[in-house]
Structures are given as structure tokens and as C-alpha cells.
């Protein structure tokens, strides 16, 4: 239930960020009345380096930073939404096609295992039925571990890239605020940013390794006929989820961050969209609290160039998020499909891979939110001490 709330919260955050920011409409009106010739002004900015980085991160996509900024400035939301929709559809379809192949292999192996095990029951006293089951289960475990390994690589690479971005930004940031001279005020911002980088490191190194071990233990548990590792796996799973939430809570609860976000939370608290989202039964409170926090962060990144930066962040982070989500749902669906025909240990092993992918997606989503907060704080700091 909680997992569903977080998914709903993240999806609504993305939608509200793209469509619910009141500043977009205001910016459009201001531009059309006061600055009819924003093209010339935009030409003064050099986006070459930025475009190069974006091409590295999104090689197959036609989006350019300048195009996104121009569409936002012109208020051409239809074309913009169409492009974003096409991009999301591409990733979703690509992952479905890729995931289908491996899911089919797992299904075949599990069904073949079930057939063989039942066939071997023709020999009641020799134990060949059990031996045959163990051999098939071990082959299935090898396949599932290689599939889950690829999912972990997706999450770790993306989290590492975000962490590197934060690390690269910090020295530049420290230098700028030192030159500005207002060191006392900047010190608190620096602490916040360092804390965020530390939590990102925790997600990337500690929690993803923990998730690996958790899934491995759940698969190994199926080799035993009795429940030998159930308590250990439950404890580890709960510990990882709590650690991820605690890390995120520590980042958001940190005083300076709160003092940056709270003024904007007040502005958006009365917002119509947030109120409507909060009225949804079951998930309303979660959506409202996540939307408040996310909108508060997004409100910091005010101008169109900043908004384009948020769009690029969403585009870059959407890929791995969708991939992990599709994998998680696919393997849960596969477990449900195998339940009538396979042994419960086989079903448990396949479901473990699904759970692992969904937990990776959750941790990665929290990492993306941390990066958004990081960017917001940096922008706010430049605005206040600059």
C-alpha cells in the first residue's frame, strides 16, 4: 500500500512539475508583453557545453536544451508535451520489448522445471524428484541473478552519475560563495549540500549493495524446504526501506533546507491542484506532502532556463525509473502467472526479483528528488548571497 502511494506521489510530482507550475503562465504573459524579441536575448547565452552533456546522457533523443527553453518561453506547451510524451513512450516500449525476452526465458525454465519434477515423481523412493527440482531451481537462480544484476547496474550507474554531478558542482560552489564574501550564510548552504551528497553516496553504495544481498538471500532461501532465512530477509528488507526513508527525511528535515522550502510551501499550500490531489482517497495525503515538497523545490528554479533544466533532469532520470518500474511489474506478473503450475519456492524466487527491482526504483526516485533539492538549494543560495 505504501509502495503504491510513493509511486502515485512520484508520478503526480512529475505531472505537477510539468503542468502545475503557475510561473510558466506568468512567464509567458510577461514575455509576450514586455520582451517580444527574446530570441536575441537567448542567442547571447552559450548552451554548447550543456548540449554536449545532454547528448551524452540522452543520445537517442532529439531534445535540445535551447529548443526546450524556446518552447517554454513561447508558451508552446502542446508541442512540448507531445515531445515529452513521445520520449516517455520510446523508453517504455524499448524496456517492454527487452524485458519480454528475459521474462519468457524465466517462464519456460520454471514450467520445464515443474514438468520435470512431476515426471520424476514416478520414482517415489529414489529422491530423483527432489534432486531434479534442486537442479532446475539452481539453473533458474543463475538466470534470475543475472537478470537482477542488470537492473542493479541501471540504478547504480544512474545514481553514480548524479553523485558525480553533485561532487563536481560542490568545489565550484564553494569557490563562488567564498569570493562573494558572505561566508557565514553560505556555510549553512554548504553543509546542506554536503549532507545531500553524503546521502546520495549512501543510496549508491550502501543501500544498493544491501538490496543485492537481500534479493540473493531470498533466492537462496528457496533451496531449503523449510523457512530457514525468512526472518533474516524480512529484517534486511525492512532495514533497507527504513534507511532509504531516514536518509531522505534527514536531508529534507535539515533546518536550512526547511527554511528554504517552507516559504514556498506556504505559497503552494493553498494551490488548487495540490488541494485537488489531496482530496483523492487513500493516497491524497501522500500526494499532497510530496507535491508540496516538490513544488516548493521547483518554485525555486523560477525562470524558463531553470525550468528547462528541470525538464532535462526529468528526461534524464525518467529513463532508468521507467526501466526499473517495468522490470518490477513484469516479474511480479510472472510470479502470479507461475503460481498455479510451479512450486512456491520458484514463485518466491521470481517475486524476489520483482521486489528488488521495485525497491531499486524507489531508492533511485528518492535520489532524483535529492538531486532536485540540491539544484534548488544551489539556485537559492546564489540568489541570496549573490
Amino acid at each position: 500500500m505504501r509502495t503504491k502511494r510513493y509511486f502515485a506521489g512520484i508520478i503526480c510530482w512529475l505531472l505537477l512539475l510539468l503542468f502545475g507550475n503557475p510561473q510558466i503562465g506568468l512567464a509567458t504573459e510577461y514575455v509576450s508583453q514586455e520582451l517580444p524579441d527574446w530570441q536575441e536575448e537567448l542567442d547571447e547565452y552559450d548552451f554548447t557545453q550543456l548540449e554536449k552533456v545532454i547528448r551524452e546522457l540522452l543520445p537517442d533523443d532529439g531534445l535540445t536544451f535551447r529548443q526546450i527553453t524556446e518552447q517554454l518561453l513561447a508558451g508552446d506547451m502542446t508541442a512540448f508535451c507531445q515531445e515529452m510524451g513521445e520520449y516517455a513512450k520510446q523508453i517504455l516500449w524499448g524496456q517492454m520489448v527487452q524485458g519480454r525476452q528475459t521474462a519468457w526465458q524465466v517462464l519456460l525454465l520454471a514450467v520445464a522445471g515443474a514438468v520435470f519434477t512431476n515426471l520424476a515423481r514416478a520414482f517415489p523412493d529414489s529422491g530423483v524428484s527432489q534432486s531434479g527440482f534442486y537442479v532446475m531451481y539452481m539453473l533458474l537462480a543463475v538466470l534470475l541473478l543475472s537478470i537482477f544484476s542488470s537492473a542493479v547496474v541501471i540504478a547504480v550507474e544512474a545514481l553514480t552519475a548524479m553523485g558525480r554531478l553533485m561532487s563536481a558542482f560542490l568545489p565550484v560552489f564553494f569557490l563562488i560563495v567564498a569570493v562573494q564574501g558572505q561566508l557565514t550564510a553560505a556555510a549553512m548552504y554548504e553543509c546542506s549540500l554536503l549532507l545531500l551528497r553524503g546521502i546520495q553516496w549512501l543510496y549508491c553504495r550502501v543501500i544498493t549493495s544491501g538490496i543485492r544481498i537481500w534479493v540473493l538471500l531470498r533466492i537462496i532461501e528457496g533451496i531449503f524446504a523449510e523457512d530457514m532465512l525468512t526472518h533474516l530477509t524480512e529484517m534486511l528488507g525492512k532495514g533497507l526501506k527504513m534507511l532509504a526513508k531516514t536518509g531522505f527525511g534527514a536531508a529534507v528535515g535539515f533546518q536550512t533546507i526547511q527554511s528554504l522550502l517552507l516559504p514556498y510551501l506556504d505559497v503552494v499550500k493553498g494551490g488548487m491542484l495540490v488541494r485537488m490531489a489531496g482530496a483523492i482517497p487513500g493516497v491524497g495525503n501522500s500526494i499532497r506532502s510530496v507535491a508540496q515538497m516538490a513544488l516548493g523545490t521547483a518554485a525555486l528554479i523560477r525562470n524558463s532556463i531553470g525550468m528547462a533544466g528541470v525538464v532535462v533532469l526529468v528526461a534524464v532520470s525518467a529513463g532508468p525509473l521507467i526501466q526499473l518500474c517495468v522490470m518490477g511489474i513484469l516479474y511480479h506478473g510472472l510470479a502470479a502467472l507461475l503460481q498455479p503450475v510451479s512450486d512456491k519456492r520458484v514463485v518466491g524466487a521470481v517475486a524476489a526479483v520483482g521486489d528488488g527491482c521495485l525497491l531499486l526504483m524507489k531508492v533511485y526516485g528518492l535520489g532524483v528528488l535529492l538531486l532536485g533539492i540540491f539544484i534548488g538549494i544551489a539556485c537559492a543560495c546564489f540568489g541570496q548571497v549573490g
Binding site: 520445464a112 529422491g127 530423483v128 532446475m136 537462480a141 543485492r212
Partner: protein
């Protein structure tokens, strides 16, 4: 109809062996052995049909053919051991039957060791990537 043939063959062998037991018990044992071998031929022909189907399925499976042939060998070993041990028990030599069964189980265990090693290797690589 082969099911009827095998059933009648088995019952006839048992009835004759019962009669021969009172006269010459060893002839009863030979009769049971002969009937067992004859029924084994019928069983092997049935297994042939099943194996053909399994071989077709293995082409779709995402595992090395070596592992699938290991599984099929396990079935063959189990059947052979069961037949031989059963005949020994019928003849009254359960110690020999036990020895045959133990050997069969150890053979099955040794056949499954490469799969265990493959799993351990995968786990080792999996953990090394993460830690």
C-alpha cells in the same frame, strides 16, 4: 493395449514364481528377473517417446544442453537403480539392494555438482559487482 500386456505379463510371472518357489526357489528368482527385463524393454520404449518431446522443448530453454542432459541422465539412473534394487530385495538380499541404492544416489549427486558450481560462480560474480 501394451498396458494390458505388461500388466498380464507381470501377474503371470508372479503367479508362476509363487508356484516354483515351493519346488525350486532359485527358478522363481530367474523368472522374476526375466519378467523384469522384459517389462524394462517396454518402459524404455515409452521413455523414448517422452525424451523426444523433452529434447524438442530444450531447444527453447535458456540453459546449456549439458544441464538438460544431466537431468535426463538422473531419470535413467533412478530407473535402473530402482529396477536392480527391487530385484535384489525380491530375491531376499536387501543389503545388496541398499548398496545399489546408495551408489545410485551418489551418482546423481555427482552429476548435479557442475550445476552447484555454476550457481556458486554466479553468486560470487554477483556479490563482487556490488561489494
Amino acid at each position: 493395449m501394451e498396458v494390458m500386456t505388461v500388466g498380464i505379463l507381470g501377474i503371470a510371472a508372479v503367479l508362476l514364481a509363487t508356484q516354483l518357489k515351493s519346488v525350486r526357489s532359485e527358478y522363481g528368482t530367474y523368472l522374476i528377473l526375466a519378467a523384469g527385463i522384459l517389462i524394462a524393454f517396454y518402459t524404455v520404449s515409452r521413455w523414448g517417446t517422452v525424451l523426444q518431446m523433452l529434447k524438442q522443448c530444450t531447444e527453447w530453454l535458456p540453459v546449456d544442453r549439458v544441464y538438460v542432459s544431466t537431468l535426463l541422465k538422473m531419470i535413467g539412473i533412478a530407473y535402473t537403480i530402482q529396477l536392480c534394487a527391487g530385484l535384489c530385495k525380491d530375491a531376499g538380499y536387501s543389503a545388496i539392494a541398499g548398496q545399489i541404492e546408495t551408489f545410485g544416489k551418489l551418482t546423481i549427486l555427482s552429476l548435479s555438482l557442475p550445476v552447484v558450481l555454476a550457481l556458486l560462480d554466479t553468486v560470487h560474480v554477483f556479490l563482487q559487482e556490488g561489494l
